[in-house]
């Protein structure tokens, strides 16, 4: 039975359980809903959950565990002599698996009988030929050991599958009966269902934690490795970023300071563009614009978030950079040497971030109760005064959230930085000079040509880790600010 079928069956049992649970609960009070503790649908849901969740959990665990177990058993049975030199047990196992699949395919195509596939031992060439006839991929030279292992593998997989089907279905049915037995008037079905729902909600929330753990884990070992090769002090306080090729005696200077500075500078410029434009757009959309303008302008602005960053990068390189040079360059103020600069990247990134601020803030501003606005208008406040002093403070947490999101995006962006701000790490106050960011360097060090166990490559992980910690600090600060100034309405 294929997986889809099994899944379908479990769900079908759950669905039937739902219907039965409902009716059973109802009939326990002779159809009087009011005597039930919970709505009939909760009794149904209780049965459905009890039959589906354990069964599906077992199914998932089984699906993960069975291949591991079967491979383990089969692979430990392969004699060492069957493993060619230079190969590995793992590779032989993949051959075994391929043979098993080939046998399956051959049986399906009719070039082998089922019993032949299960037991043929003598003639390797014949087996190979029959598999080839069925358009199966075969090992170049099939050995008896591999064939035996393949057959064993096939048999075990088949058994496992039957066992799994049986166990899962039995669990589903048992769960359904358990749920059905509970379906009587006094049973607190709603509470049970809600408890399960809450567990699901908690599981969803834990995913964020898991992701964080995963990220930290995937960074931390390589970071440690990096620090065994490169002095941490120089990394954290070095003011020069000049990686060179490890083949040449490791003369790299890997100071994070210029990169952090570039990140900070470019993000500030980007936010200086995105926050006012985004916030004012949000205010205009939610407070001034008519429904028609709003219905059109808001989704249009959101398109800005969906344009691939490479387009923004090219826009920075080809349009904004030269434009800025013509104003601030030699012919203008003389502050700018070339088109790639903090300003170029910052402005373009700011454009991309407009919808992050505008759309989210717009929703939050819109959610501020009208009575607050009325209160302010009633005192003779103008619309703008009302917005500035009543609406925005009430919407503050949401707006800060939106700005943080925009800032996060600015910190995480690469393409615009590479094309707009250049790749050179520099520590300068002049926003018309080229700089680069931590993220851009993470990407370039990770995808570069240097050898993968050199500090020049591993530094990418240390950069990632540092950035993670720095932004964590910023977020804690933001949370503190929000807590301090939040105005909770009603």
């Amino acid at each position: 039975m294929s997986l889809i079928w099994l899944l379908g069956l479990v769900l079908a049992i759950a669905a039937v359980g739902y219907a039965l649970g409902r009716t059973r609960a109802l009939s326990s009070t002779n159809g009087d809903i009011r005597k039930l503790h919970s709505l009939p649908s909760y009794y149904g849901a209780n049965v459905a959950l009890k039959s589906a969740i354990p069964a599906l959990l077992v199914l998932v665990v089984w699906l993960v565990a069975q291949p591991l177990i079967v491979s383990g058993v089969v692979s430990s049975d392969i004699p060492d002599s069957a493993i060619p030199e230079g190969s590995s047990r793992g590779l032989v196992m993949s051959e075994v698996k391929r043979v098993a699949a080939g046998l399956d395919g051959a049986v399906a195509a009719g070039t082998m009988s089922a019993s032949y596939a299960a037991s043929a031992q003598a003639d390797m060439d014949d087996v190979t030929k029959r598999m080839r006839d069925a358009q199966q991929i075969t090992p170049e030279a099939l050995t008896p050991e591999i064939l035996t292992a393949g057959q064993r593998f096939r048999a075990m997989v088949a058994q496992g599958k039957w066992a799994m089907t049986a166990v899962v279905l039995a669990l589903a049915v048992a769960g359904a009966f358990w749920g059905l037995r509970e379906s009587h008037a006094e049973f607190r079905a709603r509470n049970t269902v809600e408890r399960v729902t809450k567990v699901l909600l908690i599981a969803a929330a834990s995913l964020a934690i898991l992701t964080t753990v995963g990220i930290v884990l995937s960074l931390v070992f390589n970071t440690y490795e990096f620090f065994t090769m490169y002095p941490p002090l120089e990394f954290f306080f070095g003011t020069t970023w000049a990686p060179s090729f490890s083949g040449r005696g490791g003369s790299s200077e890997l100071g994070i300071v210029p990169l952090l500075w570039g990140t900070f500078y470019i993000s500030i410029v980007a936010l200086a563009v995105a926050v006012p434009i985004g916030l004012f757009s949000a205010i205009y959309l939610s407070e001034y614009a008519g429904p028609k303008v709003r219905a059109i302008a808001k989704p249009l602005l959101e398109v800005l978030a969906g344009i691939p960053t490479i387009v923004y990068g090219l826009f920075a390189l080809l349009t904004v950079g030269p434009l800025l040079v013509s104003i601030f360059g030699k012919d203008g103020f003389g502050w700018m040497q070339s088109g790639t600069a903090v300003m170029t990247a910052g402005i373009v990134m700011g454009i991309m971030l407009i919808p992050f601020v505008s759309s989210l803030s717009d929703d939050i501003i819109n959610a501020v109760p009208q009575s607050l606005r009325d209160g302010s208008y009633g005192l003779g406040a103008t619309k703008s005064e009302t917005i500035k002093q009543v609406v925005l403070p009430a919407a503050l947490p949401g707006i800060v959230g939106a700005i943080l999101l925009a800032a996060s995006r600015a910190i995480g962006e690469t393409m615009i930085v590479v094309l707009g701000a250049g790749a050179a790490a520099r520590l300068s106050l002049n926003p018309f000079e080229a700089m680069t960011t931590v993220t851009a360097k993470i990407v370039s060090q990770l995808t570069g040509d240097t050898d993968f166990s050199s500090p020049e490559m591993l530094v990418a992980f240390a950069l990632g880790m540092t950035l993670f910690v720095v932004t964590l600090g910023l977020n804690i600060f933001a949370l503190y600010i929000v807590r301090k100034y939040r105005e909770q309405y009603e």
């Binding site: 909600l201 995963g214 985004g278 004012f280 757009s281 407070e287 602005l301 929703d363 939050i364 703008s384």
Partner: protein
């Protein structure tokens, strides 16, 4: 209550004459409103500039120059070709021979040789071979073929290559353009709408005529299904728990900060995580949209959670009180009342999060979706999720890096398709959001 008289009422003023202070306030009001309008206009102007430049740069991708010719391949030629290592080259040679013969027969007044025709042709051997392998009955019979010309000929037709700027090279010589003109006159080559671009998969760097975005659209589609199917429910569920049920303590603060912080993790780091967890640990296949979708889900979750939480926070507590007061459970109050009211914010988060996910390349680099990947359409759902495929931004990114500038046009054309995809994807969310928007 006596001191009322100490404070004489302010001088009665006419409503029609605006006093100085009000004038100032009104001016500031007008300014404020103007800032808002300007902000929107700036945003829209940027959008317009970007849109115009995208469309201008991208339209050439939608036309191509094709050869229209009848070809007869004999059984002998077929067998000879199939014996070669580079079979496709042999097919191409047959085509060139027959075209030369035809030109001679038609008495074209331009000097040409096989090499010149080869320079004008795109890579057509693959198409020819595929055709005859699929239809052996066509051998020996004349068959009408429509095959792509080389990218330089394309450039000549859309004005990018001119006789003045062209430098003789092995790719094209100035004299070849006379041949192009002659062929054009003879009706053998002409421009046509480039369906291939919309339907085909990626092609190699020397074959711009065969390149299409279709397969990667499918890849993106499956990825977005994963992202939407996972990040929206998980994100909303997580937000509901954190905002409505979680006890307010240090630990939930930690989670809150953590989620905000996840949003700031560079997307390539999610790629590192995805490679480690999904491919190396869970043994999911390389380059699979399922893996891409999972990685992008992790990346999109913070966006959705942050916006959902903000939206949930904005729902007035009196609504919750009202529901609890009639005996609804907290769960019911949230799902029946609070969630619908928070819907606009949730949908906005989804729109923005998906837009971001759709355009992201960096994490795909690490899980193998960037490069020369999409070659076949998947048959069926399971393959769609599991077979190696590319995604639109990855495709665009690789095209943009290729040397032949014809791919540059394709990259922009791909961006147009991506934006159309994005708009289609968002339209439902946008309409839904409008339905849920209300003031209270």
């Amino acid at each position: 209550m006596t001191d009322a008289t100490n404070n004489p009422p302010r001088h009665k003023t006419s409503l029609h004459t605006v006093d100085a202070r009000t004038k100032r306030r009104n001016a500031s009001e007008a300014r404020f409103k103007m800032y808002g309008m300007t902000a929107i206009l700036i945003g829209l102007a940027f959008l317009a500039i970007l849109a115009v430049s995208i469309i201008r740069a991208g339209t050439p991708a939608f036309t191509r120059t094709v050869f229209d010719m009848e070809l007869t391949l004999t059984q002998a030629e077929f067998e000879a070709a199939e014996k070669q290592l580079m079979k496709t080259k042999a097919y191409q040679a047959v085509f060139i021979d027959q075209l030369s013969a035809k030109l001679t027969e038609q008495n074209v007044q331009v000097a040409f040789d096989g090499k010149a025709i080869d320079r004008l042709l795109g890579k057509i051997g693959g198409d020819l071979r595929a055709h005859y392998r699929a239809n052996p009955g066509d051998l020996g019979k004349p068959v009408q073929f429509t095959l792509p010309a080389s990218s330089r000929v394309d450039g000549y037709f859309n004005g990018k290559v001119t006789r003045d700027t062209l430098v003789d090279s092995r790719f094209l010589e100035v004299s070849d353009l006379d041949l192009v003109d002659a062929l054009h006159e003879a009706g053998i080559i002409h421009s046509a709408f480039n369906w291939t671009f919309i339907t085909a998969a990626d092609s190699s760097v020397d074959n711009p005529g065969g390149a299409g975005i279709g397969a990667s659209v499918v890849g993106s589609f499956f990825m977005m299904i994963v992202v939407l199917g996972l990040s929206l429910p998980i994100g909303v569920a997580a937000s509901i728990y954190l905002e409505e049920f979680a006890p307010k303590n240090r630990f939930t603060d930690l989670i809150e900060v953590n989620i905000a912080n996840l949003a700031a993790v560079p997307s390539i780091v999610f790629g590192i995580l995805g490679l480690a967890v999904f491919i190396q640990f869970m043994h999911l296949p390389n380059s699979a949209p399922l893996v891409g979708g999972l990685v992008l889900t992790l990346m999109t979750l913070p966006t959705i959670i942050i916006s959902t939480r903000a939206a949930l926070k904005a729902v007035p507590p009196s609504i919750r009180d009202a529901a609890l007061g009639v005996g609804a459970s907290k769960m019911q109050a949230v799902f029946h009342h609070v969630l619908p009211l928070a819907m606009p914010g949730i949908l906005t988060g989804t729109i923005i999060g998906l837009a971001q996910a759709l355009g992201e390349t960096a994490p795909l680099l690490l899980i193998g979706m960037v490069g020369f990947v999409a070659r076949e359409y998947p048959d069926g759902l399971a393959e769609g999720f599991l077979n190696a495929n590319s995604a639109m931004p990855a495709q665009i990114y690789t095209w943009a890096a290729r040397a032949d500038s014809a791919f540059y046009d394709k990259a922009w054309g791909g961006i147009i398709i991506l934006l159309i995809f994005l708009l289609t994807m968002n339209i439902i969310a946008i309409l839904l959001r409008r339905r849920f928007e209300r003031r209270w």
